[in-house]
């Protein structure tokens, strides 16, 4: 992981964003090039994406060891619950006020997908800069919100999408097996955490291969607003919870409000499970793409500014 960080240097979330942009560029310039047959399709289409998301789920589970849980019990869970509560409360309000189609062209699906998960790599990077060992251990718990499980559960709880219990079990099972493996032996847990970091570029690539950059431009203004809404959401519940319950400065809470690259798989997945969302999926994905890039740039900046101003 150190190596990845060192190589991509200053670009936030580069290990997923850079391959994503490259694949999206190829896909937009020469559509179909990445899917000329079974082998190339296997790394660039849905099949590839499913495999990589499944591996990511397993790896994330592998980091949830009992030791880390004990260490991070308070802080990590507060951050996690606050984040989830935020997506439920704001998702509910948004859905109630604006309905499925939403506002500014941002659908309820896009909104919930943007605020209900985060990029754990950025969180880890922030804890390295500002935190202590407890914060770093929290990353094992906040890792669960880096995969779209709670996005699905939230969408289902809010009644936004009709998601079957099977599709949630489908996401939880790989995670559960990861938890089992990670607790079996520390070296397995370490391996899985490393494996997640080193397969992330491929995940980014597979996500990017499904992106049409023209759509991103079309989704631009909506994505901009979505990114702003996501960043603003962090101040509602998470920040007060981090300060009041955790008695911490609050940068960690803000750091959980990047939109994860993983969020980009949500619209098409939801559309397969619940066809009523089909017409929104393309635009939602485009807006999320913009939000992923913008939040990964601005969240670290906002967190840093907050820390400088209110850190002590």
């Amino acid at each position: 992981m150190e190596k990845i960080k060192e190589i991509y240097g200053k670009i936030p979330a580069a290990s997923i964003v850079v391959p994503m942009v490259i694949a999206a560029l190829i896909n937009s310039l020469i559509p179909g090039l990445l899917n000329i047959g079974a082998t190339s399709g296997a790394i660039a289409t849905e099949d590839g994406l499913n495999t990589l998301v499944a591996i990511t789920l397993l790896c994330v589970g592998g980091q949830l060891t009992v030791d880390r849980l004990r260490l991070a019990l308070g802080r990590g869970f507060t951050l996690f619950l606050a984040k989830w509560l935020t997506s439920l409360v704001l998702g509910y309000i948004f859905f109630r006020l604006f309905g499925s189609a939403g506002i500014f062209g941002i659908s309820a699906l896009a909104f919930v997908a943007a605020i209900s998960n985060h990029n754990n790599t950025i969180f880890i990077a922030m804890t390295r800069d500002y935190g202590d060992e407890y914060d770093l251990a929290s990353a094992a718990i906040t890792a669960i919100i880096s995969v779209p499980i709670f996005t699905f559960i939230s969408l289902s709880m809010l009644g936004i999408a009709d998601i079957s219990p099977e599709s949630i079990i489908d996401l939880i099972l790989p995670l559960a097996i990861g938890i089992g493996l990670g607790n079996l032996d520390k070296s397995i847990s370490d391996f899985l955490s490393k494996a997640q970091a080193y397969t992330m570029p491929f995940l980014g690539f597979a996500i990017g291969a499904g992106i049409d950059l023209m759509e991103i431009f079309e989704g631009g203004p909506g994505g901009l607003i979505l990114a702003f809404m996501t960043i603003a959401s962090s101040f509602l519940i998470s920040l007060p919870a981090d300060r009041l319950i955790n008695k911490r400065p609050g940068w960690a809470a803000i750091s959980t409000y990047t939109t994860a690259g993983n969020a980009l798989v949500v619209p098409s997945l939801v559309a397969t499970i619940d066809p009523t969302w089909e017409s929104f999926a393309g635009l939602a994905q485009a807006q999320l793409g913009t939000a992923v890039i913008l939040t990964s740039i601005f969240i670290p900046i906002v967190a840093r500014l907050w820390n400088q101003r209110f850190g002590n």
Partner: protein
Amino acid sequence: MNFFKKIPAGNMMVPLLVSALIYTIFGQGPAIGDFTEALFTAKSVRTLMGLNLMAAGSQIDFSNIREVIKRAGVISLARILTGLAIVLGVGAIFGNDGVFGLSVLALACGLLNHNNSVFISLNINYGDRIDRALAGFGSLITGPMIAMVTLGMSGLADIPFLAMVDSIMPVFLGILIGHFIRGAREVFATSQKMIIPFLGFAMGASIDLRNIYRADLSGLILAIIVILVIGSVTVFFDRKINKRPGHAGWAISTTGANAVAVPAMVAAIDPVWEAYVPLATAQVAASVVITIIVTPMITDFWAKRFTKEVEDGKD
């Protein structure tokens, strides 16, 4: 995880055997939805292999591409030509019925392709940077094509060029990424190692260990031909021409998992082979399982015994 290191190619073999045992006893894992299917079935082999090939491609650059092509070329040619010589020789001497209970159909399907996933995993474990890239070209000689051309199913005109471009596409992408993105080469080298256990597990998810004895001894004989005859010739050329330790020559001496389907494919085109299909399929299936288990052991032994010798000689 230390005991992984004690088992030959443990990072691939342990997950593979665990998953093969599960598949043998319980059958296909639970495919509740897309993600569990990706994790528990052999469906993800192609994806993981594609990623591995992309990573392999990133190891290739202008300074080493000639050496990569040379090594891959020598190994592939030795591997395929030896197989061809056996198939054609047996056909000429014994006719379609073949010898030792192995029909020409079984030989063609069992000898004329290899398991590229095993090849790449073993090269990553035991080879240098150039070895890690070999499987990029190994993918050109897997698949049913060579067996079908040999059995006269199709002429050279029928070789699916688009499919070949497809199979080399990840390598090509990898070369571009390795060339243009600074550091991608180092990251991908580690990624290859990270992929191996998952690839091993995915491969195991379609392996029925009972296949080993389903064709009685004849399946074992097929596997022995693959490993001992083809393997030793390939190792010989790898050492003589490539001046390498030879472990890559062993690593390519397997029967590809997809070969099991080829006898039926052949008979669908030419009914002459119809009667041979059931036995040939069982024999090929036995060879798939036996070679996947034995070849890594030999490669491990060989690499530990001879790699140092060659590397020392270089310095």
